[in-house]
Symmetry: D4
Subunit: 75 residues, 8 copies
């Protein structure tokens, strides 16, 4: 099991709605809108690194308003 | 009362007009166009963190030319 | 109650030991060593912003190996 | 011969497809999708700096989904 | 007289053409396409800070392909 | 008259004490400890750019705990 | 097997000597001194994420002159 | 001939003295103290990339107060 933290930047004005949608994605344990250089922080779990790549890229990045994601893998 | 400083990046060519519009938003105490990695610096006050989230996201990010905002909370 | 995420950079070689110490600080709900531009991610709770300032600055920054902290406030 | 490493950011959702296309460009020795602040890392070789400028700008940046490239020259 | 260095990011694929156009703007002493986190570096001179604001924003940012400018003032 | 905003990073654990000392420096109009990538934000005024260089470098950077300063000039 | 790219910053003046030492560490496939925001780029392989954490932190960060490492995991 | 721009960060309080020393190094065409995220900007020329590596690392980084250098190669 791989645990990751994903720092997300959103299009201006889309943070709150994107955070709500991201929170409902399978594997996402937590999603919060935050101040500072990132707009949303997500904690998620994936089966392995391959799953992570497809999970992050295909699910979270498909949410409207998500502009950039940066994935940090717990080690 | 929460005091925040908001560092704003604008679409190329929109800084001066965006700064003027941001300065008129309720709660904004100061808005200046600046050199360096950010285009506008704003000082603003909100009643609490919930108010801040909605204030920043709904008012400032709705200004034409505002591309990204980074909020720094005074502690 | 204020919830914050704190992104921490450590002195080279001190990440794992610092993460263990940070995890024991009162108010810290979670502390994980991560890949990417930050070395540790922390989720913490403080009573209010004043408490946060003193909490972050006096407790986490006092841990050996903690070089920089960036606090992101949940909104 | 100039060896360069190119760190690429992609439009959300385009990383995997862009990485595959970049890998086929002449001069590209390696292209991998990665976690962290960049989406793809490329190792490439060019005859000289002039060639590099035209190579990077005209070939890689023309790939769909490539948003920004940062070139690091091996010294 | 104010001397400034302007670090410019361009839309992917527009660096070389933008550098040529920027080089012809009045007050620009030098414009070079570069590797690394910025795409073009410009040295320019303005009569004063007010002139600088209008010079940078209205002339350089109007060039096709210029996405962001960061101005550094010589002190 | 030149108005500047200075974003300051401090040595871990020194933010609050440094902010108090910076606030007393001549020309400093405001100094606040903040969350996010910078530790202190300062608003200051200098007679001209030469004055600014010497003001920033010699006064603020001499405060114990000040590690880096980034000056943004109001335009 | 986990493949990672590690972007390293060195103390001023230590890049070339650190790159040579890092290249000899077990698991490191490639280490090159580069221009731009990072000083050395490393390609390495680890058995799994746990191994990676200990590998990066204990071996590379122990090299004299290595100031910061940022690990990017191939996905 | 390789032309490079080097963006330098200095230890707090050392910018002006470091800029003067860097300006005297062979190959340096221009060195100016600047506002923003970097403290000094240098324009320099080297015979080739190998020369550049040794030139940057051995000469500029040896100047007292120089903490980090980022080299951008003109293409």
């Amino acid at each position: 099991m791989v645990t990751v933290y994903i720092l997300i930047n959103c299009t201006a004005g889309k943070t709150l709605s994107a955070a709500k949608k991201v929170a409902k994605i399978k594997g996402v344990k937590e999603a919060a809108a935050i101040t500072g250089p990132y707009d949303i922080i997500v904690k998620a779990e994936a089966a392995d690194l391959k799953d992570l790549g497809e999970f992050v890229i295909e699910q979270i990045q498909a949410v409207e308003g998500v502009e950039r994601t940066m994935t940090c893998v717990a080690v």
